[in-house]
Subunit: 329 residues, 2 copies
Amino acid sequence: MLEFPMIPDSFLQRLNDYRSVIDNELLSLLDNHEPAYLYDPVRYVFSGKGKRLRPILVLLVAKSFGTPRKTAMPAALAVEILHNFSLVHDDIMDRDDVRHGLPTVHLKWDESAAILAGDALFALAHIELTKLGKYSLDCIRIFNEATIKLCEGQALDKAFEEINVVSLDEYLNMVSLKTGALISLCCQIGGIVGNTTSEKNAELSNFGRFIGQAFQIQDDLLEIFSTSKKMGKSLGSDVLTSKKTYLTCKAIKSNHRTWNQLLEDVSGQNMEQDVLPKLRKYFIDTGIAGSAKKDINNLVSQAKLCLENINSDGDDLLHFVNLIMSRKN
Amino acid sequence: MLEFPMIPDSFLQRLNDYRSVIDNELLSLLDNHEPAYLYDPVRYVFSGKGKRLRPILVLLVAKSFGTPRKTAMPAALAVEILHNFSLVHDDIMDRDDVRHGLPTVHLKWDESAAILAGDALFALAHIELTKLGKYSLDCIRIFNEATIKLCEGQALDKAFEEINVVSLDEYLNMVSLKTGALISLCCQIGGIVGNTTSEKNAELSNFGRFIGQAFQIQDDLLEIFSTSKKMGKSLGSDVLTSKKTYLTCKAIKSNHRTWNQLLEDVSGQNMEQDVLPKLRKYFIDTGIAGSAKKDINNLVSQAKLCLENINSDGDDLLHFVNLIMSRKN
C-alpha cells in the first residue's frame, strides 16, 4: 500500500525463526494445565496465526544492544501475552467475531471463559517478567504503566462511540494510548534488558510511540482497503458502527453532510461487494486516504530520526519498520 | 452463628483505624484520573462498604513480625485491589446485581466498563507492589501465582454449574483455590514484608488456606441463614441456580431425591418469605448445617495450630480469626 525499501531475505528468515521459537515457548507455558474451562481458551489464543510483531520487536531492540535472544525472551513473551490478553477482552467489548482467522474466545466458549482467560493471561505475563533477574522490577513497573494506558485508550475508544464528532487530535491521543503505549513498551522493555541508559530508553519510547501511531492509522486504512481474507477478520465494521477511525474523524470534519449521506446510502448493503468499494472511492476522491498515507510517512520519518539518536546497531530496527509499514494485513 | 471467644475493644478500635486508613489510601490512588469511563467505575468500586478484611490481615501479619503499617501498606492495598478486581469480573460472570449494598459495576455502567475497570485495577495492584523495595519481586511472584489459582477456582466454579453431582472434596478443592489462595496470599505477603523465614511463611500459607476454607463454608451458611440486609447482597441465588455450595454438595450426596424435590417445591416462590425458611429448615433437620459448623470449627483449630508453630507475636491474629469467624455478614 505504501512504498518502503526492500527488506533483506536474511532478515526475513531470522524473523521466521524468532516467530517459531516464540510460538513454541508460548504453547509450552501451558502444557497439561487444568481446568480445561480456563486453559483450553488460553491455549487456543496462542494457536491462532498471530504475527508476533511485538515480541519480535522486543528481541530486536535487545539484540541491537548486544543482549542475546534467550535473555530477552521472558520480556518478549510477556508483551505478547499482554497483547493477547487485551485482544481477548477487547473482542468481548467490541463484539468481534473473528480474530487471526479463528472465532473469538467469547464466541467459541462464552463471555465468562473469555474474561477469565484474559485475567489468567495477565497473571502469566507477570510470571514471565519475574524471570528477568535484576531487570524484573523495572520491566514490571513500565509494563503496568503501559497496561493502564492501554485501558485508558480502550476506555476513550468506547466513550467515543457515544460522541458524534471526535477531532483528529483526540483520536490520535486515544491511538497513542491504545496502540502506541504497547509498541512503546516493547521498545523500552527491550532497552531495559539491553541494559541501555535512561536517555536512550526515552528515545526508544518515542520511537515506539511514533511507530505505534503509524501502525494504527495503517490499520484504519487496511480496514477499508484490504480484504477480509488477508486480514483474517471481518472488515469495515468499525466504520459502520459508531467506532472512530482516522478516516471517519477526517470525513466528519471535512464534510459531515456528504459523509452521513454516504453512510445512509450504504446502510443494509453487502459489505464486501457494495459498501467497501463505495467507501474506498469516497476516501480516495476526498484525499483522506492520501492524507493518511502522508501522516504515516511523517510518523515513520520521525521514528527513524529517533533510531539515529539511539546509535545502537539499528539496522534490524530499520528493516523492522520497513517491514511492518509495507504489510498488507 | 458460631461461638468464639470475646474480642478486646482495643483490637476492634485498631481495626477501625486500619480500615479508614486503607479506605483513604485506596481513594487517593485515583484522584483526578481520566477518562471517566475508566476511572468512575474504579473509584466507585472503592466507595462501597467493603470490610477490608484482607488488607487488614496483611497489616496484622506484618505487624506480628514487627513491621510497621506504613511499610506493609502497599502490599495491603495490592491484595485489596486484587480482591476487588476479581469481584468486579466475577459479578459479570455470575450476573450478580448487588455488591456491598450497591449495584454492581456492569449493571450501573455496562459490561465493557466492568471488564476494563477490572483490568486497570489489576495493573494498579502491581504498581503498588513495585513500591516494596527489596520485597517487591517475591511479593509479585506469589501475588501472580495466587491470581492464577483464583482464576482456576473461578473456572472450576463455572464448570461445576454444568455438572449435577460435585463431591465435597471437589468443592473444597475449588474453594481452596477461589477463596483460600487469596487469604493465603495475604498471610504470605505479610510474612514477606515482615522479613520472616521461608519455613514460617509456608506455615503462614497453611494458616491462610485453612482460614480461607472456613471463611467460604461460613459464607455458604450465611447465604442461607443471614438476611440480605445484613449481607448487602441478595441471598439464596447460588442454591437455586446450578452453583455449587458446601450445603448443596452435601444435600445432593446425602439424598438427591428429597433435595431435588425440595428445589422443585420452592421453584417460583418468594425468596425471603418462603424459599429461605424452607431451605433453612431442611439444612437443620438433615444435620447438614451442623456438619458445616463442625467443619468450620475443625478448620479454625488447624489454623490456630499453625499460628502456634509460627511463634510470632500472634495475639492479633488469634483475635482476627475469632472476629471473622463470628461475623454475621
